[in-house]
């Protein structure tokens, strides 16, 4: 039986083709990049002798960005599927403590940082311990969320406390130091050009994840789950296994960020990551990753992380109190979320207008 074309009935809303450049300029990532550049110019103009625009500052910005970026990338992937993770900062700290203790076990004379007999081996073991701990942390989160069906906010609030507590316990309450100096020279403080090695690693992860999100089945399914979990399940996707893989990924990246602490400072930084979750959420959300899930913007997270760090560093250089930095970063996060709200309301209205 033949039918008349359904064209007239269904095609009742025309959507014109848009030039790729125009489409890019309309993305949140583009706006945030432009905002980054504007802020950079502003701080350069305001800083004494324009020190903000210097190789040394660029280097310090980049190394600071790398940790927040790793957390933000993991978070963006998880948010894409509708998982919120508050525990990333705690994961970072716990991973760095475990990694530090593993590395110290390679000291010939316990407590003597100059007595490592095989530094490369110690470094590799430390790295694997950091990433491994991060993965286990992520796996626990994933089991609570995907199998235990606990709301991700509550699950990771719980593991935030537990992880921080375990880190403090096994570290004995104070930072674990005495990492090999060669590790700092080779990785943490080493650069290629003006780009620190940790930043190169973080950018490599960003590029990899961008490819995953944009071109692979994994990225598509991640966003499908966040967009409509029911649709994903009805399409035959193993949603629980997928969610587990995401929390493991996010955990592994947090572990990697923990290793950067060791490579950079030669010790853990127990007190240094209280606001990392705020920074990571800010970076991911400002960048256009939807809190409700369904849309991941990897470049948005990159420029969002840069924004958080430029703000923080710029305010330091201008001599603004550290308390103000927290306020400004928090306010920027709220503004970004409010912008999302406005856009969502507009979308709903235009959908209702059908």
């Amino acid at each position: 039986m033949s039918t008349s074309p359904i064209t007239q009935g269904i095609d009742d809303r025309a959507i014109g083709a848009v030039h790729p450049v125009v489409r890019w300029v309309r993305t949140r990532a583009a706006w945030i990049l432009l905002f980054d550049i504007a802020l950079f110019a502003l701080f350069t103009a305001l800083s004494r002798n324009h020190v903000f625009f210097s190789a040394a500052n660029a280097e310090s910005l980049l190394i600071s960005v790398s940790q927040i970026l790793l957390l933000a990338l993991g978070l963006a992937m998880m948010l894409g599927a509708g998982i919120f993770d508050l525990s990333l900062g705690a994961n970072l700290v716990l991973s760095s403590v475990v990694g530090a203790l593993v590395m110290k076990s390679f000291q010939a004379v316990p407590g003597d940082a100059s007595s490592y007999h095989d530094i490369p081996l110690a470094a590799v073991a430390g790295f694997l311990a950091c990433v491994g701990t991060g993965i286990v942390f992520g796996l626990v989160n994933g089991l609570l969320i995907a199998v235990g069906k606990i709301n991700s906010l509550i699950a990771t609030l719980g593991t935030l406390g537990i992880g921080t507590g375990i880190a403090l316990l096994i570290a004995g309450g104070s930072d674990v130091s005495g990492m090999p100096t060669a590790l700092q020279l080779a990785i943490g403080l080493n650069t290629i050009g003006i780009v620190p090695i940790p930043a190169i690693a973080a950018i490599a992860v960003a590029i990899l994840l961008w490819v995953v999100v944009r071109f692979t089945r994994y990225g598509m399914r991640t966003q499908a789950i966040g967009s409509s979990r029911v649709a994903a399940e009805r399409s035959g996707i193993r949603v629980r296994a997928h969610l587990l893989s995401l929390t493991v990924l996010g955990g592994g990246l947090a572990g990697m960020a923990g290793f950067i602490d060791l490579a950079r400072f030669g010790s853990t930084a127990l007190q240094g990551h209280a606001n990392d979750a705020l920074g990571a959420v800010t970076a991911a959300v400002i960048g256009g990753t939807l809190l409700e899930g369904g849309r991941i913007s990897i470049w948005g997270a990159v420029w969002g992380a840069a924004l958080a760090i430029i703000l923080r560093t710029g305010l330091v250089i201008l001599g603004v109190s550290a308390f103000w930095q927290l306020i400004v970063v928090g306010a920027v996060l709220l503004i970004a979320v409010l912008l999302d709200r406005v856009a969502a309301v507009r979308r709903t209205r235009s959908a209702r207008a059908d």
Binding site: R217, M220, R234, S235
Partner: protein, 249 residues
Amino acid sequence: MENPAPVIAARHIAKRFGHVQALRDASVSVAAGEVVALVGDNGAGKSTLVKTLLGINKPDDGEVIIGGEPVQLSGIREAQALGVDAVHQDLALAPDLSVVDNMFLGHEQIRGLGFLRRREMSERAAESLRELGITLPSLAVPVSDLSGGQRQAVAVAKAVMWSSTAVLMDEPTAALGARQSDIIAELMRTVASKGLGVLVISHDLPRILKAADKITVLWRGETVLESPAAALTVPDLVATMVGYREEAS
């Protein structure tokens, strides 16, 4: 009543949820190329029966037959493997994904390392939509940018693309206006004309009487009437649905 061999059927299904006996003795059968409407009052067990055919519910009693064979389904993936797919009441599309991605969700075409073959996917999706006479402004836009009728058409096209046996539709026109409902009803005929069995739950009696070949009426979890649509009128149907038993033709 004489029936050609059904491509999908449920025989004497019983299903209890806690204290609720959702299905007592429910049967339905759909032949290739046939549109069968499943009607009944709220709570008659229509959705439960369809979910049983999809393997979402396990029946306490009775059997599901797909392609002439009795089957034990333990999930929707198994039904899909047997060529049965569904269009759900609550529209199982991911609104943030494009039309193409939605149509291939769960059936993605990939090369090594999980990379999507987006070009092939687009071409196949466009072809499937064209075969059903569905025209959309773009297949790259998120589904949330489409109108309700367009979305439902995409959901139907997705189900058809992955079905080789039957497509089950749970109130596909519930959220649509009159014109778009007509279009979806027409789409059911097109799908059946491709040799698939179509089972549709509907409350829209006048429209479904015109679109369906056969009507199956459920009443309190029991199949009380199976009849060619042409032999029925809306008042007959309403009477049967609310519990006045009639001799089946």
